[in-house]
């Protein structure tokens, strides 16, 4: 086994551990996940229509152009600004008109809603939503950020 392959397996194990930690019994959250399919991760690309930095949750409304030329409006919920700012987010990171790539947990019932997981900004900055993290992770900040989208592309 090459050193490269070993390190890939190491990364994969880490990723599994991270997911297990994220959704283990010690996870923290203050909004319901009932509306979202937390087992599915989808990558949407869209243009920001509205970005609301407010408690109890941030909201990101994006317009997504589909492969068939039609457009959809997706409403994405995030954690509280308090938690997100401790994970490196700033209200000024996102503005209407910005083009974003976002990993989301989509709505269960086919509605164009989702829970944000990771946002990839055009300038290369990556922002992880702290929802569902353990108390220690919330206190300490994100341990590992993905460098590229992990979800199934939404076309």
């Amino acid at each position: 086994m090459t050193h490269h392959a070993q390190s890939r397996i190491g990364k994969w194990k880490l990723a599994v551990a991270a997911v297990a930690t994220l959704w283990g019994p010690t996870a923290q959250a203050h909004h319901s996940f009932g509306k979202f399919d937390m087992a599915r991760l989808v990558t949407v690309q869209g243009t920001v229509r509205e970005w609301t930095w407010a408690n109890p949750h941030t909201w990101l409304i994006v317009v997504v152009r589909r492969a068939n030329g039609t457009t959809e409006q997706w409403s994405l919920v995030g954690s509280s600004p308090n938690m997100m700012s401790r994970w490196g987010w700033n209200a000024a990171d996102i503005k209407p008109g910005d083009k974003l790539t976002i990993d989301i947990h989509p709505g269960r019932d086919g509605q164009t809603i989702g829970a944000m997981q990771t946002i990839f900004l055009a300038n290369g900055k990556v922002l992880a939503d702290p929802a569902g993290s353990t108390g220690q992770a919330l206190a300490g900040g994100p341990s590992r950020l993905p460098t590229k989208p992990q979800g199934q592309p939404y076309k």
Partner: protein, 290 residues
């Protein structure tokens, strides 16, 4: 209890007599109580300096902030000794697709202290400890001036709290909690949870607490960075014996990101639909008001 005693003229009379006796007893106790309060509420610079020296000898709950590192739901795995009414309620209980922040209402004690990611900050001055709880943007006031509870505290989300030190442990006694505080009375067994429900609140049995709910918290430092909270819940409408969930732990945060922030709940789009009994999200219109 008060309703019962008011039901007949005779009991009212007995109550009046015993009330007078109580007042008399209270008069006798006044000098002692006033003394206890005087010691904790300095009225001169010398007394104040002495009080601050006393405060300096207490365990340091004050530096930095504390945030819960235990799961948001309290651990009721040691089954409480429930009343028949509570058992009946639990038998019919269906896990709620609920959000504690629906309608931006404050959570109330004790659940308000359970949320990780948003810390609590302790402050102290002679006669009072204050705790800012970021997750609701509210501050608890714990009176340490030797007072007794009010006879009829007005209902509030954080209650009326009175504290004293027992060695290195801060003991806080809280009554006067509003009827609509978010209240956890137990934990559902895993077998009753829906598959794929990732919500850490899914296992919580939420319910209404009784009017005489009383909380006793025992807080102490386990080590420099860890604060332990042992809660005991007194509510004879739910528990035959006072119940203590597994102690909750808080991590001290001294970095800039751990500093307290403001919390103003202004943009709530989650709402509870009475018609379906489900949590809904209003994503079409502007946010729900407070």
């Amino acid at each position: 209890m008060i309703e019962l005693t008011r039901s007949t003229g005779r009991t009212v009379a007995i109550r009046t007599v015993s009330g007078s006796l109580c007042s008399f007893a209270a008069l006798m106790l006044v000098p002692q109580a006033a003394q206890a309060q005087d010691a904790a509420v300095p009225r001169t610079a010398e007394q104040q300096a002495a009080t601050w020296q006393e405060i300096a000898r207490q365990p340091d709950f004050w530096q930095g902030t504390w945030q819960s590192i235990s799961p948001i739901a309290d651990d009721f795995s040691k089954t409480p000794d429930y009343t028949p009414a509570a058992l009946e309620y639990i038998k019919r209980y269906k896990p709620a697709e609920d959000s504690p922040f629906t309608n931006c209402k404050p959570l109330g004690m004790p659940f308000v202290q359970n949320i990780g990611g948003m810390p609590m900050k302790f402050f102290q001055s002679p006669g009072m400890i204050a705790v800012y709880i970021e997750s609701s943007g509210m501050t608890r006031f714990i009176h340490t001036d030797g007072r007794k509870h009010s006879e009829q505290p007005n209902p509030s989300y954080l209650g009326e709290s009175i504290g004293h030190w027992e060695g290195d442990t801060l003991v806080v006694d809280t009554t006067g909690l509003a009827a609509d505080t978010i209240f956890q009375m137990g934990t559902l067994p895993a077998s009753q949870l829906r598959d794929g429900d990732h919500s850490p609140l899914a296992s919580v049995i939420f319910g209404k607490h009784g009017p005489n709910l009383r909380l006793v918290e025992r807080l102490r430092l386990i080590d420099f960075n860890t604060l332990e909270l042992q809660l005991t819940i007194y509510d004879d409408t739910i528990f035959k014996q006072p119940y203590s969930p597994v102690p909750r732990r808080f991590l001290r945060g001294i970095e800039q990101r751990n500093e307290p922030q403001e919390w103003a709940c202004t943009d709530n789009r989650d709402y509870f639909d009475e018609a379906t009994g489900k949590l809904e999200i209003n994503v079409k219109d502007k946010a729900q008001g407070r």
